[in-house]
């Protein structure tokens, strides 16, 4: 009921205005709906109106029958009811919803000077009792007015009707808008609460909003490319997964705009081809809302209306705001998901960093950067590191998934573009480039020691992927730079310390002619002994430093305690060995200390006598080996050259062959067992082995048991590992 929808203050306002008019005109006024029911409390001066209000059903019905004769009125009029000359002003006005007519009724008034005549008319009407009494009351209590006055009151009552219409329409609109806003707020609340359920938000919105028949979201899937990822509404399913480009059709046009766009009466517009093609059928209008974050377009929300619907402007505005907010939720959900993916990738980076820190070797760190960057990108095809060589005119490459000649060509290009620059890093910390073959590369400068010394580049399938992984790769490249800086610092520090040690050694040996010469010889011997194979190549510099430290006095050594802690520990053992020389007992010294003792001992004596002695604490094997080395050192040329790049030149096939031969010799495998082992190493199953060797699977199992027993391994993986280890060793 309309009365119930009115707020109390609206009713009071209408009543107040009605009373004011009634007081001013001295007329009774009643505002009724299309059925004659009072909408507000009447302003009753005339007894007849009091009767109407006092719920005299019969009187009310009779009155209403009279009023109904004027049902077609569109303007306020002076109307005769029951008796010509007994007048009421009837002013029609539209109900708030605009669907029916309400009335303002005012009366009772008669033409001045006609009262007596009317009384006579009633008396002679032949009416009796109630009807007669009603008419007499009407006449006797009526206001007598001149024709001019009656016209004035008619206009006034007309104004009252207009005012009542305006107030009621405004109140109705307010109530309607309030209810709809409340419903729309419900949609927003759902959108906020259930961010994952965008379809539900769309459905709820369409229920609430008038004229929204299909609602969907087109997501940006690549540069200028969009795909409809969600769509709800009858007949909209054909749009699911449909793709379009920027500028194509209405949706494509909306993709180019920062602001919401709206089109109506578009059925015959050629830009609607995309909607028609995807089964939307009949439609009238389209509203599009860009979903953006910062300067980035994430997608477009769109609403299709099948027919023209008049919607309150305020509501439409609120709907637009609401859709924009739903768009914000979608955007924040997208960004959240993107960040979550970034975090997922960043977490393992901590582990990787710890691992890289422990490597302390430039080449291994580069291996890790290449491998990790491939792991972090979802659809990688290749990664490459270009790192400057020490000379600065050449570069070093570590790559995966790139043809060798292309890697070299790309490295030259990167060297010219990035390594030649002073810092290399733009503000974003990366660059996107395209190779001549059209491959998209994301490039991160590796900056340390004050300049760009390398570039980590990863190939990507699209710019979208670049957006997804750029931060995590930046973090990886930055960590790589920091760790390489620490390796570089450590190397520089070692270099400085070594220079300082050499300086101190040179100055110390100046005052010790013999010992200085002996130590110089010991340094050379260590180099030669390393080439001879007596010690590992990297052991020689360590022992040379220890030998140099042996010449320094205690005060100088304590200065270098921190820089050469390992060397000084060995030197301490060496001195203990000197002290224990000639004593009997069990001595246990490290191998470096034993080597140092032997080398310094031989360097201090001539070869003839040195070869005859035994040194306390030095193993006889080492001593004899070194003695043999001393004996042949004049004729031994550097025949044995150890390769630093053993890993790089490792050939699995050769290792496999060497390994099997070694295993056969070492464990005494039969010819058949050797054949079985060869197939095991090539990852053949028992069935395959049986087929290849024309024996039963049962026999294969027997051979395997024997092989495993002989090799003392428990499964084929261990057997294979052992084969390759022998092959490598």
């Amino acid at each position: 009921m309309i009365e119930k929808s009115w707020a109390m203050d609206v009713r009071k306002t209408v009543e107040e205005i009605q009373h004011t008019y009634a007081e001013f005109t001295r007329l009774s006024i009643l505002i009724v709906d299309g059925q004659g029911r009072p909408l507000v409390k009447p302003s009753s001066y005339h007894p007849f109106f009091k009767k109407l209000v006092d719920a005299d059903e019969e009187t009310r019905e009779r009155f209403w029958q009279e009023v109904r004769h004027y049902a077609g009125l569109t303007r306020p009029a002076l109307c005769d009811l029951w008796l010509p000359g007994v007048k009421f002003i009837i002013a029609p006005f539209k109900s708030p919803a605009g669907d029916v007519v309400y009335y303002v009724l005012a009366g009772v008034l008669i033409q001045s000077g006609t009262k007596e005549m009317l009384e006579e008319e009633v008396a002679g009407s032949g009416l009796y009792d109630e009807s007669r009494k009603l008419l007499l009351d009407l006449v006797l209590e009526a206001e007598e007015l001149s024709g001019e006055e009656a016209e004035t009151w008619r206009e006034k009552i007309g104004k009252l009707a207009e005012t009542a219409e305006r107030i009621l329409r405004s109140a109705h609109r307010e109530a309607y808008v309030r209810d709809r806003l409340s419903e729309l707020r419900g949609v927003l609340s759902t959108a906020r609460r259930e961010r994952d359920s965008i379809d539900r938000t769309f459905e709820q919105f369409m229920d609430v909003s008038g004229g929204s028949d299909v609602m969907g979201y087109a997501e940006r899937v690549g540069p200028g490319e969009y795909r409809v990822s969600r769509v709800v509404g009858e007949g909209g399913s054909g749009l699911q997964d449909a793709e379009f480009r920027e500028g194509e059709g209405f949706l494509g046009q909306a993709a180019l705009s920062d602001n919401p766009m709206q089109w109506t009466d578009i059925q015959r517009d050629p830009r609607s081809f995309f909607l028609k093609q995807n089964g939307i059928g009949e439609f009238y209008g389209l509203r599009c809302f860009p979903v953006r974050v910062g300067g980035e377009q994430l997608g477009i929300l769109f609403i299709v209306s099948r027919k023209k619907v008049q919607t309150d402007a305020l509501l439409r505005e609120f709907e637009d705001v609401l859709i924009a907010l739903v768009g914000e939720y979608i955007a924040s959900g997208t960004i959240e998901a993107r960040m979550e993916r970034q975090i997922q990738r960043l977490r393992p980076l901590m582990e990787v960093t710890r691992f890289m820190i422990s490597a302390q070797n430039t080449q291994r760190i580069m291996f890790m950067l290449v491998d990790m960057s491939l792991s972090l990108v979802w659809n990688p095809s290749s990664a490459i590191i270009v790192h400057e060589s020490s000379s600065g005119e050449k570069v070093q490459i570590v790559s995966r998934g790139i043809a060798n000649d292309f890697a070299e060509q790309y490295a030259r290009d990167v060297a010219k573009r990035i390594l030649r620059e002073s810092t290399g890093a733009n503000s974003a910390g990366f660059e996107l480039s395209q190779t001549e073959e059209g491959q998209l590369m994301i490039e991160y400068p590796i900056v340390y020691a004050g300049k760009t010394r390398g570039v980590l580049a990863v190939s990507l399938s699209s710019e979208q992927e670049a957006e997804e992984c750029r931060e995590v790769l930046l973090a990886l490249a930055t960590m790589g730079s920091i760790i390489l800086q620490s390796v570089y610092d450590q190397q520089q520090m070692n270099l400085q310390n070594e220079r300082f040690l050499k300086l101190m050694y040179t100055s110390a040996k100046a005052g010790q002619d013999d010992q200085g010469k002996n130590t110089d010889l010991a340094l050379r011997l260590l180099d030669e002994y390393a080439r001879y194979g007596g010690i590992a190549a990297e052991e020689a510099p360590f022992l040379q430093r220890t030998a140099m430290l042996s010449v320094l006095d205690d005060a100088s050594r304590s200065e270098l305690n921190e820089a050469f802690a390992g060397e000084l520990a060995v030197l301490k053992e060496y001195q203990e060995m000197l002290d224990s020389e000639g004593q009997t007992g069990t001595f246990s010294y490290s191998r470096p200390a034993q080597v140092l003792r032997t080398v310094l001992y031989f360097a201090a004596l001539d070869e003839e006598t040195a070869g005859r002695l035994h040194l306390t604490g030095v193993s006889p094997e080492l001593f004899n080996h070194f003695r043999k080395f001393m004996a042949v050192r004049h004729t031994v040329q550097s025949e044995v050259v150890l390769s630093d790049g053993a890993a790089a030149s490792f050939n699995p096939a050769e290792a496999e062959e060497r390994g099997i031969e070694a295993i056969v010799r070492e464990f005494g495998l039969s010819k058949r067992e050797k054949e079985v082992l060869e197939l095991v190493v090539r990852a053949s199953s028992n069935k395959d082995i049986a087929a290849k060797l024309f024996i039963s699977e049962h026999t294969v199992k027997n051979h395997l048991t024997n092989i495993f027993n002989k090799m003392s391994v428990s499964d084929r993986a261990q057997a294979i590992a052992r084969v390759f280890n022998r092959g490598i060793g």
């Binding site: 691992f355 491939l374 995966r400 490792f650 699995p652 993986a717």
Partner: protein, 81 residues
Amino acid sequence: MTISDQELLKLQMECTMFFENNPYAYETARGLAKKLGRAVEPLQIALNRLAAISILDKRGEGNMAIYSYKTPYTQSEVEIH
């Protein structure tokens, strides 16, 4: 069996680090699972992905497959000009 992207990535990193640290290791998924204290099935997914992106070499198929580290291509003296 389903495995989250995050879990897969973590396993990939773990396997990559293992093989970088042990470049001469030849491992089945089962053997590596024992060493890393991981379940075999998700590990196999991670190993296969590493093989797909050329970080590991894979010989054989299924449970018999043996994985080993593929040393990246390195070239230390490339002339810039």
